[in-house]
């Protein structure tokens, strides 16, 4: 039996065949497909080849069209319409629901997304967005090259912890309390005491606006600041805030130039905050009168809440270049920045996290997709080049999503989401400098799928690939 003959048997009628030919023409040759050298475009269906049919299960032969024609859409034109599934018994349904997956794509190793040092307990802590946990290591831990990984000293992990996609960490320098900020799934910042372990409930948690990312604290005023991606805002709470406490102020509005803010750093020397922005934003307009509820109604009954997506101005969205914007700590609502680092000389590319060395007057930036850490003068402004760039194969930096300047030990930590490591360097390291130490959560050669909240997927029929988006 040949492929050409199968067409006629299964399609059954000239109308279907004509439709099939039309769609095949469009799918195979009309957009992206390539004519074989012997073919000529005639505008009419034509015999292009005669090939043996592939083996198929059972008696039913399957025609397997080439490349893009494998989509379910194409399949619709390939078969006659089948009736809806016949009635099946409850036992058959139950058995089918218990069927195991035949394949599972999943990273068995931890993926570090944020890093911070506990200076009084001499520990380093990381959030792990793959396994939903916070891990604590001795600060001087160094995974030997021949070891599979380093086991953490402690691990906060489990259903009660309120830990999922925690994008940033703050460790209280006075007592080692752990502040872990959830991004876009739980709406909570969880606070644990030093030493928390296992499936520990947070000592307290704060209900936050949707999509908080970075955290910074001013210990002098006992204020805690969070960036909010969804609302292009910085919300400031009392450091001890809990539950549904309100922010004491919010920085938000088009004049702030914030756009998809991620990292935040506080400079105690100048009493200023730095915010890194990825660049996409739309306008959230405060209602002329009355209360507003905020994104996902989280602002109901709370003061100083950022104006939410439900008050977004339709079609006001725009893309701006990435930037770092600088404000007085106590700036509120639509206050413009006092400085803006932005432009092609800056090398900013998804500036994801910030950390400040206020003693040397330097600002560290995790530059995720280009595997670099940029360093700017703390008073940099405009389209300026970084004063140092840490980047290169010896650094082992791969998709850095967090940086931490450990001023006590004069070290710089980097969380590398792309290779199961946290790496540490001397403050002031530059170029392709190898790390002083490496903490690995998996084998050196283990691939890193970098899945994090794989919300949607689709099948690329042309390449027979799964497209999976975080």
């Amino acid at each position: 039996m040949a492929r050409v003959r199968l067409f006629r048997n299964r399609a059954g009628g000239l109308g279907i065949l004509a439709l099939l030919a039309l769609i095949a023409t469009v799918v195979l040759w009309g957009a992206g497909g390539q004519l074989r050298p012997a073919q000529k475009a005639t505008g009419q269906p034509q015999l292009v080849s005669v090939e043996p049919l592939p083996q198929a299960d059972g008696e039913r032969c399957e025609w397997e069209p080439a490349s893009a024609a494998n989509s379910s859409l194409f399949a619709s034109f390939q078969q006659q319409f089948a009736p809806p599934a016949a009635d099946v018994t409850e036992a058959e349904k139950l058995a089918a629901s218990r069927r195991k997956p035949i394949r599972v794509i999943n990273d068995p190793w931890g993926a570090f997304s944020a890093v911070a040092v506990d200076p009084i307990h001499n520990e380093v802590l990381m959030t792990d967005e793959n396994k939903f946990r916070i891990v604590a290591y001795d600060r001087l831990e160094n995974t030997p090259p021949n070891a599979k990984l380093s086991e953490p000293k402690r691990m906060i992990h489990g259903e009660d912890t309120e830990i999922e996609f925690q994008c940033s960490l703050y460790i209280d320098p006075a007592n080692g309390d752990i502040y872990a900020v959830n991004n876009d799934t739980l709406g909570k910042m969880a606070v644990f005491p030093h030493g928390a372990n296992g499936n520990a409930k947070p000592a307290r948690y704060l209900n936050t606006p949707m999509a908080t990312f970075g955290v910074a604290v001013d210990e002098r005023t006992q204020e805690l600041m969070l960036t909010v991606q969804d609302d292009a805002a910085v919300v400031t709470f009392k450091k001890t805030a809990t539950g549904k406490d309100s922010p004491i102020r919010t920085l938000q509005g088009p004049r702030t130039l914030m756009a998809d803010p991620h990292g935040i750093a506080y400079n105690p020397k100048t009493d200023q905050i730095y915010v890194s922005n990825w660049g996409s934003v739309n306008v959230h307009k405060r209602p002329a009168s009355g209360k507003y509820s905020g994104t996902l109604n989280r602002g109901i009954g709370r003061d100083n809440w950022p104006v939410g997506r439900n008050d977004a101005v339709p079609g006001s969205g725009k893309f701006m270049p990435p930037s770092i914007t600088v404000y007085p700590r106590d700036a509120s609502w639509d206050t413009p920045p006092i400085r803006v680092i932005q432009g092609p000389r800056t090398q900013l590319n998804w500036p994801t996290a910030l950390s400040i060395d206020h003693e040397r007057g330097e600002l560290y930036v995790a530059n995720d997709p280009v595997d670099s850490v940029l360093v700017f003068k703390a008073d940099a402004n405009g389209d300026v080049a970084p004063i140092r760039v840490l980047k290169g194969p010896k650094t082992l930096i791969k998709n850095p999503t967090s940086v931490f300047a450990d001023l006590k030990n004069q070290e710089l930590w980097v969380a590398n989401f792309g290779n199961h490591t946290a790496t540490v360097y001397k403050l002031g390291a530059s170029g392709d400098a190898p790390p002083l130490r490496v903490i690995r959560s998996g084998p050196i050669e283990a691939p890193a799928p970098m899945m994090g909240n794989p919300h949607t997927l689709t099948w690329d029929s042309k390449r027979d690939e799964l497209l999976v988006a975080n």
């Binding site: 799918v27 957009a31 992206g32 399957e62 379910s72 859409l73 194409f74 399949a75 619709s76 319409f81 089948a82 809806p84 599934a85 099946v88 349904k93 089918a96 629901s97 069927r99 195991k100 997956p101 599972v104 999943n106 967005e129 999922e164 876009d184 799934t185 739980l186 999509a211 991606q229 990825w278 996409s280 934003v281 739309n282 997506r309 339709p314 079609g315 006001s316 969205g317 893309f319 998804w350 994801t352 998709n399 999503t401 691939p447 890193a448 970098m450 994090g452 909240n453 794989p454 919300h455 949607t456 997927l457 689709t458 099948w459 029929s461 027979d464 690939e465 497209l467 999976v468 975080n470």
Partner: protein, 277 residues
């Protein structure tokens, strides 16, 4: 989530797989979290929504790295507020955007500040729509979401107010859906993403739980001919199996596979399920 990306994996990838390519970076203009995505096999393009910029972005099918979209629909005439999800009709070249009580329709090859060519909105529509899929063969537009709660005592009482609405593909204005699947027998509590397999008229919809992690997660299968409080014809992946927070769904007809992503397990799972193909 710290690192957005569109990663490509070989369909047969298993375990700790390395992506064959990944779209990420400043030029890509993506950000967290990409809530929906479509592949157009006719034009070989990837289409995603971007809710901060209120945009629909189209990439080359083979895009890789820090690559720019080849087209963007955005601007005040689009009327888009928070476009988080979409559905693509590659045959009729249209893209549909659900905005809870509104569905906007654009030409998929449009660019820039364009007006929607159709809008479904109004009290007769019974929207809530948080996700959509299009059946271009049987000419249907299928929405999943939450039923409006106002005055809906039955939904409040049962704690189940998710539904699936079926419209004609070309519906416009304040139209009634052809069918609505909801109610206790349907077992629909909440809904995640949704897809369709036209040859057998099957609708596949993610059924997540209210809890952040629960074994009560599964993929429900109904027919486009169903209407009312209809039990699922099939349940895939649960309940009481591996799924904990189901999200996306796609089907691979040639191998009769249903592929599902799960937020809590942080994984992509492939089920062989020939019954629906």
């Amino acid at each position: 989530m710290a690192h957005p990306q569109i990663a490509a994996f070989a369909r047969l990838a298993n375990g700790n797989a390395k992506p064959t390519r990944s779209i990420a970076g400043q030029n890509s203009a993506i950000t967290r979290t990409i809530h929906d995505m479509a592949y157009n096999p006719i034009t070989d393009e990837i289409v995603i929504p971007q809710f901060y910029a209120q945009a629909i972005m189209t990439y080359r099918g083979g895009a890789n790295g820090d690559e720019k979209p080849i087209r963007i629909i955005m601007g005040p005439d689009t009327q888009m507020t928070t476009p988080a999800r979409l559905a693509l009709d590659p045959i009729h070249k249209e893209v549909f955007i659900p905005l809870e009580d509104t569905i906007l329709v654009f030409p998929s090859d449009a660019e820039g500040n364009v007006k929607p060519i159709r809008t479904i909105k109004g009290p007769d529509t019974m929207l809530g729509a948080t996700a959509l899929t299009v059946d271009p063969v049987n000419n249907l537009l299928i929405a999943s979401g939450q039923r409006p709660r106002k005055g809906d005592e039955r939904a409040v009482e049962s704690g189940r107010n998710g539904h699936i609405l079926i419209f004609n593909r070309t519906d416009n204005g304040n139209v009634k859906p052809k069918a609505q699947i909801f109610g206790p027998k349907s077992k629909i509590l909440l809904t995640a993403l949704i897809t369709v397999y036209p040859p057998t008229k099957m609708i596949l919809a993610g059924m997540p739980s209210r809890e952040k992690s629960s074994p009560n997660n599964w993929v429900g299968v109904w027919s486009e001919t169903d209407n009312g409080d209809v039990p699922p014809r099939w349940m895939i992946g649960g309940p009481n199996q591996m799924l904990r927070q189901v999200r996306g769904i796609t089907v691979v007809p040639k191998t009769k596979e249903v592929i599902v992503s799960d937020k809590y397990v942080n994984a992509v799972m492939t089920y062989h399920f020939p019954e629906i193909f």
